[in-house]
Every structure is written in structure tokens, then in C-alpha cells.
Amino acid sequence: MTTVHESRTSSFDDNDQKPVGFGRMLRKEDPRLIRGRGRFTDDVQLPGMLHLAILRSPFAHARVVSVDTSAAEASPGVRAVVTGETLKGLGLAWMPTLSNDVQAVLATDKVRFQGQEVAFVVADDRYAARDALELIDVEYDVLDPVIDVRQALAPDAPLIRDDLEGKTNNHCFDWETGDADETEAVFARADVVVAQDIVYPRVHPAPMETCGAVADFDAVEGKLKLWSTTQAPHAHRTLYAIVAGLPEHKIQVIAPDIGGGFGNKVPIYPGYVCAIVGSIVTGKPVKWMEDRSENLISTGFARDYIMRGEIAATRDGKILGIRTNVLADHGAFNGTAAPVKYPAGFFGVFTGSYDLEAAYCKMTAVYTNKAPGGVAYACSFRITEAVYLVERIVDCLAAELDMDPAELRLKNFIQPDQFPYTTKTGWVYDSGNYEPTMRQAMDIAGYAELRAEQAEKRARGELMGIGISFFTEAVGAGPRKNMDILGLGMADGCELRVHPTGKAVVRLSVKTQGQGHETTFAQIVAEEIGIPPADIEVVHGDTDQTPFGLGTYGSRSTPVSGAAAALVARKVRDKAQLIASAMLEVTVADLEWVKGSFQVKGDPAKAVTIQQIAMRAHGAGDLPDGVEGGLEAQICYNPSNLTYPHGAYICVVDVDPGTAQVKVRRFIAVDDCGTRINPMIIEGQVHGGLTDGVGMALMEMISFDEDGNCLGASLMDYLIPTALEVPDWETGYTVTPSPHHPIGAKGVGESATVGSPPAIVNAVVDALKPYGVRHADMPLTPSRVWDAMRGRATPPI
């Protein structure tokens, strides 16, 4: 069942309602972060700590002929200089990526992208380390690079991955989903078929805190402590154990406060491994913090899909099928972060929110001489690309049919009684009720009035556009029967311990990078056992202190670990009920849970609070037969399905006809993420994601020149949006709980990043309708918009 709520603008007055459970409350982590008491990786200072700097390749493709480190070694303050050859001796020159490929830690044979790691220096301070890099003499034999992805499979293309045995071309993988023949049949009998080439350019997550690590290997204990910027500390620990051959119980990975992740901090980067090697070699703690340029040129990018979308429909606007062909640029090493059986992530949900008769996708992924990646940049494993494709192509169809894009969507939505709905590509949407969400967005926007205003403005030669996007996400990876990363199942552990005085500690496997876990998870536990969130400590990020689980990305924390937290709290409550029955001398069946206490049914005066029960659990006196002392539980939650949040976004833009500058005037976002735990945090996630969407739609792109030089190596070149580019966000929500999630919650961390770019692009294209524009690729910079107005829209690559 869906409930519709009007919350047109976010009011801040009641943000701190101090709920014992769900509701608005200020974030518990904020006083620390706002007052500069956060502790990030770069804040870690250990006695005797040394500093590491990495020498990177200036070339996109070159053979490494020789590396002379003698001058660097003689430089003041230098403790060690390590090259690929040194690592080779230790069996550490290569490491596995998250997609079962391998990636060079330090280059031995060739460099394969500009910015690739070639050697590192460990020195007394950052300056000495950086200065010594200038003294390393590398002789390169420069090779032709593969930069244009469309040429990667040309017969004469230079071979990038000659390290892989038997490899003769730059092919990475093929993937398909759906039914080609069925789709062909549907297309053959359709009244209308529209095709459009659509590029989702390479972008970068660009977290404000770059990546880094402090490694401290204690040779006596044989124990490695690693503070690092990781969204997935447990997965990293296991991988280090496998790569470095260190016993897993002797590795402690600690993710302290993280200044933004967005998927950038999911992979293991060569720098982390270098820091570990540096500490082992020198016997001292070693810190590595990459600088801004290093982060932008060498760490995980996202997107880079060249798509051709086709849509088939009847003349009156019933969508029959969608077909797409994708060329995916995976860079020099396949570092995609996605469950292994999903090499294209969850791109399979490109069928969107519509009831189709057939769908088919064929994808080819290739290697190029660019940085590796393909990370889940706030995209729920490639759903960003999928949603962009379907929402753009549906708009193209609306233009072709001369139908209002809102009407076309409403006509084709999967209906509430069709859930759970199995898509033509095999995804089982758990729940959804799309029309109320769409209607609310249209109401807030004043859709009819906006169209009237647009008509008037067009008559005057002014350019105003209204863009819609409606998305369904698939988040919360995932059921372990088919989802794992390098063999690690995607289930999450959780532990809850209630102390004698009724305060509690909950230990999570996931790790916040700004999402507010310390608050949300305290609220989830509070809702179940009635202990106020302020009394619940959330411990996360330290593998020695938390149960195993796969980490935070793909909006999976609430769908997976949130469920674990609710269930572990219910386990504790069940035990509390046994103890309460003894305390009140009634049977368990005679007790009723009223948040925070057990009462005897029909006699509310006879009650014990959870705090009293906690003391009894730890105190003197007998407990019921078979009940152990203490009040704690642990769990490992394996989700039975993903959760499928949805949302309706409407964007209004004005385009200056003289300068082609786009101004986002209004943006309406109505999200349905099921049960809402902390609406204030949800709004924050949505605001951030929408801002991200403005960046991708209007300005962000990692581009390269023909030699493979990265042209986005600083934040002056790679633009990210500021407060001045975004309007006041107008948000609303509907609630359609997930039927299989214990509290009905779906993830929301990435909804807005996924849903907003198509709304903005659709709005710009709509504004340019008088110029006959049907499509223009991101980033819609003034120059590119101006080209589109002149009928010369070109792909950005």
C-alpha cells in the first residue's frame, strides 16, 4: 500500500524531534564533524611515521625500459625507493581487481594509462618524498595509445593487455540480457520505432577527501593495522589476506571518518598496497595521501557508456519494447565494482518503470589506455546509465508521437497490482505504485501552468524547458545465491549489545562516508527496542570491532545492514521478553510490547522497561530456565531480493538564447524509498544527489586528448557544481514499503544521482525544441548547447 505525503518544501524547524525510533532528528555525528573533531585518515599520526609518494606515468601507453632510483635513494630523508621490479620479487607487482581482472600495483612491463603507478618513495616527510620523485629516472619507450573507444577493437589497434596470456585484442567482455528474437518481433510489428545514440560520458566521483592510507606493520606481532579511506573495510581485509598472503586475523582495517566516497573508495588502489609494502620494508608506520590530481587521474571513474537506444511503440503511445547496444570503456584494467555475475552492474533495469512486451541489450566492453574503474559512483551499479537511457529514449518517443512526456509515462507505468513484477530482463520489482508519485511531482510543479508559461515564452522567443524523469532503482545487493564480490557473499552481519544500565552498542559492517549511519542505525534499533538513539552507540569501520559484511555502496546499507539491525534488535527484544515474563511472573504470551517496555496485557501498571530488563539480564538473581545472562545478539542478514525505490523528478530550465547558458530554475523531486527512517537525512541525501546530477548534466566530464593526456586533472579543469548552480530543491514523497524488508525500507542514497541527469537533459532538450533539437549529450556546457541550437550537436567523445 502506498501513502502519499505532501511535504513540498523542507522545513527545518522541526528537524530535531528527538524520536525514540523513526523521525526527524539531527545527526549524531555532526557535532564532531562540524567542530573539526572528525578524525580522517590524514589526521592519523603515529610515532615515527614516514610518508610515501608515488611516481606516476606521464604517458598513456609506454614500455618501461628502465627505472634508475639511485639518485632518489641518495636524496635527504629518503628511507626506501620501491619499483615494480622490487614488488615482482615479493610476488606483489600485480593484484586482483574487483572484477576478476588484474591490475599492476607498480608497472613492470608497460604503463597503460597516464597516471599509472611506477615507483614509490618513502621518506621522513611529505616534502622529501615528493622531491625525491623528481630524481627517479625512468626510461620509457612510448607506444601508440588507444584513446578513442570506438577504435579499440579495430584490427590494427595497439594491444594494451599483452600481460594476459593469449590476448590478441582489446576486447574485455561481451554481455547480453533479454530476448533478442522476441524483441525483434515486437519491433517488427510496432507502429513507431525511434532510435537515438546516447553517450554517458566518463565522470569522476571526486570526493573532497582524496584516497589515502596509514599502514603500520608490527613485525613482532605479525600484525598489520591499516587505516584507509575504504567504503568496504571487511572486503578489503579479506582481499589483503589473499593478495599479500597475510593471515586474516592479523590484519585490522580501520576506516576512520571519510570525507565522501561516492564509490571512489570501494576499490583497492595500488597506493594502499604500496603503503603496506612501505611499512613492511621500513619497519615503520607509513602514510600515503594522494593529491587532488592523483585522485582525478588515477582512481575509479564512472560511466563511459556509448549507447544506442531504440524504443518501439504503438501510434497511440503504448510502449512495446526497448533495445540497446552498448560500447563500454573500461580503461586499462577492468576495475568495475559490481557483483561478479553482473559485469555490467545492474544495467539490466534499463526497461525502467514501464510494462513492456520485450527488451534486449547487447554490450561490448573494451580496454583503452585510460584509468581503470567503472565504480558505483552513486549509481547503484550502472543504474544511472540505465535510467538515463530509458528516460531519454522515452522522451524521444514522446517527441516523435507529439505526446506530452508526462502523459506518455503515465500511460505505460507498471500498475500497482502487477507487483511483484518480473521485467523482461529478469528483475523482480518488489513493490511500487508509480502514478501517485508522478502526480505529486506534477502537482508540486504546477505542471499544467508550467506548460502554459512555456507556450507564452516560446511565442516571445524565450527558451524555457520542462524535463521529466521517472526512475526505478534496484538497490541492496544482494541475495547471496547470485551476488558476490570475488567470492564474498553480499550478506551483512550486525551485533547489538545492551549494557546493564540500558545503554546499547550496535556494531555494523557497513561504513558511512557522510550518509549519517551513526544516526540512522541508532534510530532503527531505537524503533525496535525503545532505547533512545542518544543512548545507542554505533560502531563501524573497524574490522576488529565489527562483524563481517560487504560495506557501503550501491545504496545497500539500509536495505541490507538496516534489515540486519532491525532483526538483531528484535532478537534482543525476544530475549528481553523472556526475562520480562520472569520479572513480572506472567507467561510470555501475556506480555505486550509498548515501545520501550513490556506490559502485562490488560494491566499497564504492571510493566518493566527495557532498561530494567537490561539490568536484570546482567544482575543477580535467577533468570528463566535456559536463558543466559546478558542482553545481546548477533545476526547475518541475507536479503531475499533487492529493494526497488522509485521517484518522479521534474526540472525547469531557462536557456539564454544569446549565450546558450542553462539555468536550472526549479527542481521537484518526489521520492519513494519505502519506510522513512529519518526524513531529514533522506532529504540531505536527495539534495546532494540532485546537486551531483546538475554537475553531470551540465559540466562534469573526464576527457582526454588524442595522446591520452587526462584533461580533467584538477578541479579547475574538472568542474563540480557549487551552491550557485542549483535551485532551492522542492521535495515530496510517497511511501510504498518493501514487502520483504523487515521495516519496509528501501535505499535512497543514490536515487537522486540516478534520477536527476535525465530530468535536466530532458528539460534542456525541451527548451531547445524551437530549434528542432531532439537530443544533446552531456555535459551541456554553454558551448555544447550553442552547437545544439545550430543543429550541430555532437557527442562529447
Binding site: 615528493r130 622531491d131 579547475m716 568542474l719 550557485l724 554553454p782 558551448s783
Partner: protein
């Protein structure tokens, strides 16, 4: 953290002491004013200098906006923020406030200086375009207190190259004040705080009969230097302000500028902007001259 190569650092105690140091240390030394152009280049190791002479202690001496008869003088160490906030300057030359509103961000504006902006001689530098538009001249001081005054055309020798010699320093910029003037600035950027795709400044002086006595246009980011366009001045002088006239000026701007295609935009688009922004700023400058 981006780390520059090693350098030595000294704080200046007076203009002449700073010039003395420059003279002694030669081309291995640089003055650092706001540092917002110099330090990013050093951190990226695009520029390496052995000595930095910090002239921020000279802000008291060289940070000023002063009205003289028929002239406004601005000290080289006057910061963007001071230029933005000065009502006196905004009254005399509204182009300054227009420009300062779109230069960088508050953090940069708190430190960056007029002198640093001109001496950096980046073709996209907004204040260079402003100074060109206003027909400013630069006071350069050398060893022994010798001073010379050069026009903006002479000052900008090439991209990132100025008339200031090794042992010299820019100390002041002078702006002629004429009656019935109006000025304006406009910039197209991809994002707030970004460097210009193209920007244009215009200044107009009206005669008693309402015709244009004189007019100047300065463009940024469309060629190796931010130069004035005498052809536009000639086309405007003596005419009644009108849309057709702005159009003619815009067409000249688009023709004579020399942009290149880069990440900020195509050459075509930049020429179009030179035209569009020339027309827009002339229109505003005339409105302001009239009011």
C-alpha cells in the same frame, strides 16, 4: 596535498627593499602577492622558483583606491575584495564591481590583488580586460626608485609576459576619469568561479548631444592577450547609441578576436560570445552613462 619544490622565502619590508632583492636574485626570484596564481602553478610544479619575496606586508603601502583630479589611482596590492566593495570605485567605474562579482570566489578574492592579476598576464584574466577597457596605465618601479608609466598595450607583451623587468615591480594602476561615462562587464563561465569562456568589458563616454564621444571594448579569453579594439572605438565615435551600432561593434569583436577551441568552448562559440557580450555590455554602459 600538492607539494611545491623547495624554495626560500622572505617577507618584504618596503617596496625598495623588495626591488633590491629582485635585483640581486634575478630571474630565480618571484614576488608573491595574493599567491592565487603563482602558488597553484608551483604546487603543480609547472613553475619552480628558488626565492619567493612576499609583498603582503606592503599592503598598507600599496593597497589603496585614490581619487586625483581626472584620475583614479589604485595600488598594486589592492585586493579583489577591496575592489568589489569600494563604493567610490563602483560609482566611477561600475565595470569593476560587475567584474569582481564574477572573479573566482570569496576565498580567492580575499587574497588576490590587482597587481598580481595584471602581472600574471593570463589571457583570461578579467581585471586585465577591465584595465584595457578603461585605458589604464601601469606604474612600474625599478632600482633606485626609477618609475615609468606604460599603457596596457605596452604592459602586456604576450601571454604570461609583461613589461615588468626582473628587478622591477608594478606599484600602481592609473585610470583616466572623464565626464558622462558608463561602463559594464559581462562574463560567460561554465560554472561560478570558473575562468571565462569569454568576457567583455565596455566603456562609453557621451557628448553633450548624446552621441558617443568615445568608447572602448576589452575582451578576455579570446586571444593571446587581452587587448583593446581600436576599430570598435572608431566605429562608435560620433554616433548616436543604437542597437545597429552595437551590432556593428559586436561583429567587429567577433572578427578581430583570436580564440581557440578548448574545453571551455569551440572557437565559433567564442567568436559568437565576443559579439553577443560586446553588444550587451555596450548597451548597459550607455544606459549607465545616461543615468
Amino acid at each position: 596535498m600538492q607539494v611545491p619544490a623547495p624554495f626560500e622565502y622572505e617577507r618584504a619590508t618596503s617596496v625598495d627593499q623588495a626591488i633590491g632583492l629582485l635585483e640581486r636574485l634575478g630571474s630565480s626570484a618571484r614576488l608573491v602577492a595574493g599567491g592565487h596564481s603563482l602558488l597553484p602553478m608551483m604546487k603543480l610544479r609547472l613553475a619552480n622558483f628558488e626565492y619567493l619575496i612576499d609583498i603582503n606586508p606592503l599592503h598598507d603601502e600599496l593597497g589603496y583606491i585614490r581619487s586625483q583630479a581626472n584620475e583614479l589611482r589604485i595600488g598594486a596590492m589592492t585586493r579583489h575584495r577591496e575592489l568589489l566593495e569600494s563604493d567610490e570605485l563602483a560609482a566611477a567605474f561600475p565595470i569593476f564591481r560587475d567584474a569582481e562579482r564574477v572573479i573566482a570566489d570569496p576565498v580567492v578574492r580575499n587574497r588576490g590583488t590587482l597587481g598580481g592579476s595584471l602581472c600574471q598576464a593570463d589571457p583570461s584574466e578579467d581585471l586585465s580586460a577591465v584595465c584595457t577597457t578603461l585605458d589604464a596605465s601601469c606604474v612600474i618601479r625599478g632600482p633606485g626608485g626609477a618609475e615609468r608609466v606604460v599603457s596596457m598595450e605596452e604592459f602586456h607583451v604576450g601571454p604570461y609576459e609583461t613589461a615588468v623587468g626582473d628587478g622591477e615591480m608594478l606599484i600602481e594602476v592609473r585610470f583616466p576619469v572623464r565626464a558622462n561615462g558608463g561602463s559594464a562587464y559581462q562574463k560567460v563561465e561554465r560554472r561560478a568561479g570558473d575562468w571565462a569562456v569569454v568576457s567583455a568589458g565596455a566603456a562609453v563616454w557621451l557628448a553633450a548631444d548624446g552621441t558617443i564621444a568615445d568608447a572602448r571594448v576589452g575582451l578576455a579569453a579570446v586571444g593571446p592577450n587581452t587587448t583593446g579594439i581600436p576599430e570598435i572605438s572608431e566605429a562608435l565615435r560620433g554616433h548616436e547609441p543604437a542597437e545597429e551600432l552595437y551590432e556593428r561593434a559586436g561583429a567587429i569583436a567577433a572578427r578581430v578576436c583570436d580564440p581557440v577551441t578548448d574545453q571551455r568552448g569551440s572557437e565559433d562559440y567564442k567568436r559568437h560570445l565576443a559579439d553577443e557580450l560586446t553588444r550587451r555590455t555596450l548597451r548597459t554602459a550607455v544606459e549607465r552613462a545616461r543615468s
